[in-house]
Amino acid sequence: MSTFLGTPSLPAGTGNLRGAQSFPAAARKALGDSQLRANLGAATATIRAKRSAAVAEVPDWEQLRAAGSALKATALQRLPELLAQFEANVIARGGTVHWARDAAEANRIATELIRATGSTEVVKVKSMATQEIGLNEYLAEHGITAYETDLAELIVQLGHDTPSHFLVPAIHRNRAEIREIFLREMPGVDPAITDDPRVLATAARTYLRQKFLTAKVAISGANFGVAETGTLAVVESEGNGRMCLTLPETLITVLGIEKLVPAFTDLEVFLQLLPRSSTAERMNPYTSMWTGVHPGDGPQRVHVILLDNGRTRVLADETGRAALHCIRCSACLNVCPVYERVGGHAYGSVYPGPIGAILSPQLTGVTGRDDPNASLPYASTLCGACFDACPVRIDIPGILVHLRAAEVDARRGGLPGPQDLAMKAASAVMASPSRFAAAERVTKLGRLLGRMRGRITALPYPGSKWTTSRDLPMPPAETFRQWWSRTHDGSR
């Protein structure tokens, strides 16, 4: 008989949560793409302005944010209980619930469910969870074709590309590029198609209508799951989601376990916070909710796959768990000066931007200094714009610092790197006023260096990382401390 001690080890997230290179390397590449810079700069500036106008209209916005944050904290605290309640209610209303520990399990369950229908084609509602687990690619390997029906997701799919934003997955593309993609990849497209947004949308509509009318299986994610009723909710703008959620016979929903809210009335708060934060709309155009199976109306087979994939791992971290509050509105992406310059692909994960920088490394865990996800918590100046924009008040800068500390602490005891040594040395010097004053006298050697040319323009590595684009400040003739003792100390 084996003895069980402690909590079970928590599974790390797998799937599209980790890039091939570190953030600085991926960012360098993205920064070289001038078209990307222009597309992103224009798009994020527009969304930012619209969002702040939409938010300014709500007099109790700060109370709403606080309510959203409190509801999420409560839901996470009660998660085991809510999951059991949700499962019981889905089953009581004729649905089926499946549990998936990781991406591989979720993909396998979804594929088996599709196979059981005899179908080889599925339509998809835009979903971050299915992107996270790489469902489309998995289905393709198993002879099933998945059609994205959200316009931007369709552009990404046809372009053999990956999304770079939660809400505007093709934000890195402009309309000329979209026209080219349609012309090249969309079956039956009019060869005379222009880059007029209306013409492009009409082409997509014609193409997608065929899919909606023939598909027997739909796959969705969900923005919310309500524990007390077993209800699922999807919030979208184009109506394509509602087509997928109502027309096919079988509906499979992949739901991250953190998406549960306790009560139906809790949605009141989130359905105010989400549209204004994401699309800058007062009310969401299409909010679809379904609860189990209703004979003769909508899908007759309803499956829910509850996905962990690293989430319980995040939940176990008292400070970091607030990352699970995220309602995927993308407000933090749109206000982030780093995201604005490099776009979503540089983050390597399906979760880009500030929230991705705290969520991805927590979901996957960090395997060491060379893990690309180890670089994500440093992909921020801690400017705080993300915290201000977050509708559920996730303290992203605070969690970034917490994750940086965890990364530094994980290395302790091993061989210290140059940064570790520099930080320890700086700490030792700065903890003592006399040592600090002595160090100040040494930095003045820099004056001699600079005096030769009037300014200091080049340093050896790693200082070169500063001097590639910036001069070095010239140390002053007199430090403040010296000025003070010259002008004040005598008189006191």
Binding site: P24, R341, T381, L382, D409, S427, K465, R470, T479, W483
Partner: protein
């Protein structure tokens, strides 16, 4: 009022003009300035880079240095250092298991102000009697803006400066890309952000860019100097300290 100056390590070692100006300004306003000699650095660089254990001795040193003197309010010419004292010191102490230090740090933090906060909120003055006949644009640094919520206090102070033409900075609230060690760890992104900030400073038509943080001014100023733009960066304290009889050519 007896005011304790936290000069900050950056101002002390590299930009003493921000700290000397703060002293001259407060003395001109009739206050008594003290300089707690034991002070060094708030530890922000360590905290923000993840070296929280290494920040503990710095927090301890800062708290001890300021506790050791009698003063009514402490001031630093730096939004980010005040942000560190106010929002990080107690957290660092608690994380290290030193609740006593955390309580003492909170007591120091509760009476520590950024310069514009001290002037407007504590000393209730917006016209400090300054004279600065230059075209100036103001960059609201991230930590002053979002960590301390200084709001329009610096702008109110600048508007009351005689001779000064205040020019609007496009996309003012966008970060300059400094971010401490971010400027080294993500040098390319930092440079791209700086490039955009410099272009808005140039578009503003100002001859001087000011802010309440020497660190951000160092980033913007050393970038502008590389461009040979002719635009200077000057700390808010230096502008407020300038008068007709002295130091207009700061």
């Amino acid at each position: 009022m007896r005011i304790a100056l936290f000069a900050t390590c950056l101002a002390d070692a590299l930009f003493p003009a921000a700290a000397t100006a703060t002293v001259r300004l407060l003395e001109r306003l009739g206050h008594d300035v003290v300089f707690p000699a034991g002070q060094t650095c708030c530890g922000q660089m360590h905290v923000n880079t993840g070296y929280l254990a290494e920040a503990v001795p710095l927090v301890r040193n800062h708290v001890a240095a300021f506790e050791g003197e009698a003063w009514d309010a402490a001031v630093a010419p730096s939004g980010s250092c005040v942000g560190s004292v106010r929002h990080q010191h107690a957290m660092v102490a608690r994380r290290a298991g030193d609740d006593g230090l955390a309580v003492r740090a909170e007591a120091v933090a509760a009476r520590t102000y950024e310069l514009s906060e001290l002037l407007v909120d504590v000393l209730a003055v917006t016209d400090v009697g300054a004279y600065y006949p230059h075209r100036v644009t103001y960059h609201p640094t991230c930590h002053s803006l979002r960590m301390l919520r200084v709001g329009d206090k610096p702008l109110r102070l600048l508007r009351a400066v005689r001779g000064l033409t205040l020019l609007e900075l496009p996309a003012a609230e966008s970060c300059c890309g400094f971010g401490g060690t971010f400027a080294l760890k993500n040098s390319d992104v930092s440079t791209a952000m700086l490039a955009d900030k410099m272009s808005t400073v140039q578009r503003s038509g100002a001859e001087v860019c000011t802010a309440g943080d020497s660190s951000c001014l160092m980033h913007i100023g050393r970038g502008l100097s590389r461009l040979r733009s002719g635009i200077r960066t000057v700390h808010l304290a230096e502008i407020l300290a300038a008068t007709e009889t002295g130091a207009t050519r700061i």
